[in-house]
Symmetry: D2
Subunit: 344 residues, 4 copies
């Protein structure tokens, strides 16, 4: 009954097998090995982007920050939404990697409203005294478990384009969004106006690998230097590569995401009976308000997830908001047990 995060589950056997396979003999370091070349090409193929510059790093934090650093000068601002992970959960890593760029919070939700974004960009920059206009950073799926439709995405990237600004896509849950939309990775990225995307693996079954994909390879060399300078160029790179190899084989990435989304749907069906759901969850993350006593009962029974409020003290009937995230490995039985505990 572990719904705290999709970074808490194990990796599927294919990943361990790939690591074992890669663990043969000597290999050149720093990503110059043949396996890395092969997997890089597979990623280009998956994204239908033969010219793309593709890199693997081990954390989502740095995947996003390095991507942004290639597009944001130190005197620029990055446009994001208030709950954006880069704003809320990275201990100033974006500021660090960009050399001190600012983050401008646009609107009040987890999704950009195009008109609000347009106003925000239009009202910023303009003189040497202001932070200059920099990249627009979109999270898909968002930090609140929502997704942009392809039309939504195009509307947002279109606003960036009006101002000549590049678009970054934080894809920590890229796969979950992609299978929920039933679209291709290319459609959800460059075909919708994205310049650089993070194709997340860590939250979707890998030990720790994210692919950063620059659709225009102009930033390739700069990325490589910034990655090294950040201490993120792995000498034994093949162990990152092997994980991605497993992830791509037979579209494991999509299968894992479909599984996680389905688990979440199963959980959702139950939660709806006893609580109030926020929004319209379509990926593997649900925000719901349940009576305090239900959380308390569940935790006592061994459940674990984030509650935005004290569950021990207060009116037992009062609703307390919680976040539920399912990873691919959650068993149906666990979900059912949780629902049983809370009487759903």
């Amino acid at each position: 009954m572990f719904f705290a995060s999709d970074n808490s589950g194990p990796v599927p056997p294919q990943v361990l097998e790939a690591l074992t396979r890669a663990n043969e003999g000597h290999a050149k370091g720093y990503g110059t090995d043949p396996l890395t070349e092969e997997v890089t090409q597979q990623l280009r193929d998956l994204f239908e982007a033969p010219e793309a510059a593709v890199y693997l790093v081990a954390t989502g934090t740095v995947a996003n920050c390095l991507a942004l650093a290639c597009y944001a000068q130190p005197f620029d601002t990055v446009y994001c939404t208030p709950p954006a992970h880069i704003e809320e959960d990275e201990c100033n890593a974006p500021e660090f990697y960009t050399g001190g760029a600012k983050l401008t919070l646009v609107g009040e939700s987890d999704r950009f409203e195009p008109s609000v974004l347009r106003r925000a960009i239009g009202g910023s920059g303009g003189s040497v005294h202001n932070a200059q206009r920099g990249p627009v950073s979109i999270t898909q799926a968002t930090e609140k478990g929502n997704i942009y439709s392809l039309d939504d995405l195009r509307a947002v990237t279109g606003v960036a384009r009006e101002f000549g600004l590049p678009v970054h896509l934080d894809g920590a849950r890229f796969a979950n969004a992609c299978v929920a939309l039933g679209c291709t990775p290319a459609e959800m990225t460059w075909k919708s106006g994205v310049d650089v995307a993070v194709f997340g693996g860590t939250k979707n079954g890998l030990m720790g690998v994210e692919a950063v994909i620059f659709f225009d390879p102009e930033k390739a060399r700069e990325f490589e230097l910034r990655r090294k300078r950040g201490g993120h160029l792995f000498s034994k790179h093949r162990y990152l590569t092997a994980q991605m190899q497993a992830y791509l084989a037979d579209d494991l990435w999509a299968e894992l995401a479909r599984t996680a989304n389905a688990k979440s749907t199963r959980l959702l069906a139950g939660l709806q009976k006893v609580g109030k759901i926020e929004g319209d969850p379509r990926v593997n993350m649900i925000f719901a308000r349940l009576p305090r006593k239900l959380h308390a009962r569940a935790f006592e029974a061994g459940a674990y997830y984030y509650c935005m409020g004290d569950i021990a003290e207060g009116d037992p009937e009062e609703p307390v908001k919680a976040r539920f995230v399912c990873d691919w490995s959650i068993e149906d039985a666990e979900i059912d047990r949780y629902l049983e505990v809370i009487g759903a």
Copy 2:
């Protein structure tokens, strides 16, 4: 016949087994899992440092840079030797993590001469116009394959102490030096005046894990924040921990280092017959000058290592310097074959 680097070999089976064992069920993220707590304690025990703050990161670059960043202010300078890895091979990562501290190169060799270090420190700092005196960074074993005896170490750290400066130890090849000296990790670190040490695993058989050990835990919180800000806090931290668990079990770290050192000794014995050895190699790295034609012949036969000069063009008899590094996995047969190829 791969002598390019000790970051090119596979990992021993124990590491894969530990990863497999760790891959069970859900675990809290970011190093708050029980396994990490356990392994952290094991490291404290190994270093006989019950108060130490201990952290795992995935690359040596960041292990050293984060350690330095906790001791060097942006207006400070770090004292190191000219061939120090932090100076030569990190694409300005130390400058990045320290916020712009300088590196002052001391002397002309890979080992600090205490009197030269004293003069360098004494001649630096002093006014608001200068970079201020910051940490002394020692590499053990050095980038040239040499080691400091414990007396040597104490002499160097003693100079730092005279000026009230902290001492950092870059231990990418910590284990190789430690077993060569036949001393304990504690003796090679805090008992010899080291404030923060990197206990390297990546070059000694792990996929990518280094332990950073602060003997005075005062910098613990700062390290944690800087690690997160650098994108180096792994959400699925247990996969770093598991590697270190395997490394510590039955002193695998020492066994691997002893093996690598022994391979190097075997290689050395042969190289001496046909080339000129630099210094007195005691760990798993040898610098030797061989006639150009021998390198050419070896490469043709499939050998791979770094040559400081063109091996295709030039007088075939002219000695060309090369670096040979043995990792634990090199087979004696490969070494012997190499020696046979070069006629040693």
Copy 3:
């Protein structure tokens, strides 16, 4: 009819005279001259702070940024209001000087509401993933021409104190606020809970000098190093000092501020007749909405100030907001002429 900014007027003759007096013979550089020592002591006396560390710099941007950099770590956030100059008008200088700290915008006005500030601080920080809690930055007078009463100030600094956070006061218009409140500099700073204050001179009649005053001298050395590193330590420091000397003599700072405030009051009296005033201006800055046609007429007649909207195009009767700032040197006749032009 120049109401664009109080950084647009000339300096009073006393400043030129002081420069001339200081321009005698040789003087040690970098602030080690006797005049600087003397003026530093005068500032300590003025602020009734015998232990204070006092420094002169040439711009308000750097005065604030250096002060903040001494209190905000790169992984911290600085709390300020949305229109704060450090957020809006410094091209990421605070991020630069702090090494990448964040700015958290609190509330929706130019003045901190204590309860809103308490909620903002309480809801931030808390884990290694977040920006950590850093200094609270207050502007007095605010960027909207408002002032905090001493009680207001104490309420805000009290909230910072609850969390153990330091307080910075941006005093670009320190003198204008101080004379408007009729309080002493000490009362408006350390007696109200301020840790470091900028005593602005540039907007109040100097060529370019601001004093940074640390009431706790613990940060003194760090400030000196950061100032030098920022390129803000003047070799011919006496020419900064001389300006401050003139500023302090016979309380010129207060006299200039009183004059500027009075000019503003005169202007206000007229503006009220034809436009709508924002808030309750008590220093030398007024925000007012006037019919578009009046702005147009005034600009045609040679007036100059900032209008937040197009004055050439649109309904002539529609109110357009504008900012009016009076400096000490504006002549009553100019104000009267402006009022006459707009028919007030």
Copy 4:
């Protein structure tokens, strides 16, 4: 008898007069005033560079650092000589402004030897692991009081050009070198292969103004943003401009430099009689070794300058090295008195 630095003397009356003249009425801020436009054009004319982007800042530190920051990426290295001011005397300001670039010290003297520079550049960079090749920074006149002939300059910039690297010229004592060579500012800069030059005023009679001149205006906007972000854009810019206006009028800059150089020559003639001169001083800086007792006697008589050694303790006859700098305002009588005191 003040020979400590050319930043210790007063400014000539023309500078005060220009400040007084500029102190009339209101002027737009931040360098958008008509006087700044005029003086900027005068600088373009002086340098015969109609396209140049020209900026004024108040300190030499920042003039050099901003210029370098426009050409050096954070992962680059700047080539300079060991005694370069940017290395020795700026408390890591170059590292700060470049976002963490390295400084590579070339050779062992204050002047680049072209062949040594070529070897240094050729031996650096090359892989993602190294600091990348960045700008070459030349100081003219050097920190040791030497100058490059135009042929020397061209030889050095030619090496940079071989590698496609930009050239920065630190001209803290630009004027002194220029008049000593009897060449034009254009000849000493872009005609000799310099990309960005600092035309120093502060050490040659101004209160604090340096012009930064980009011969290729491509970096103009970046410079403006970096200047603002560094807190170096003066709101009351006219007071910087006025100083430069005086400096340019009737070639005051050349006259002051000629005067200072002549004073130095007068001093040199005497010093030679009692001490040993280093090199062949041609500008206003002399390094000389005098018996300890002479320094002691001079200091007792009120002289002030830098001695590289204790003058109170030690063998009275032992030579102690000292630096003598003459500014334009030193009177012949003072020089003569000093020489008399030391018996020259």
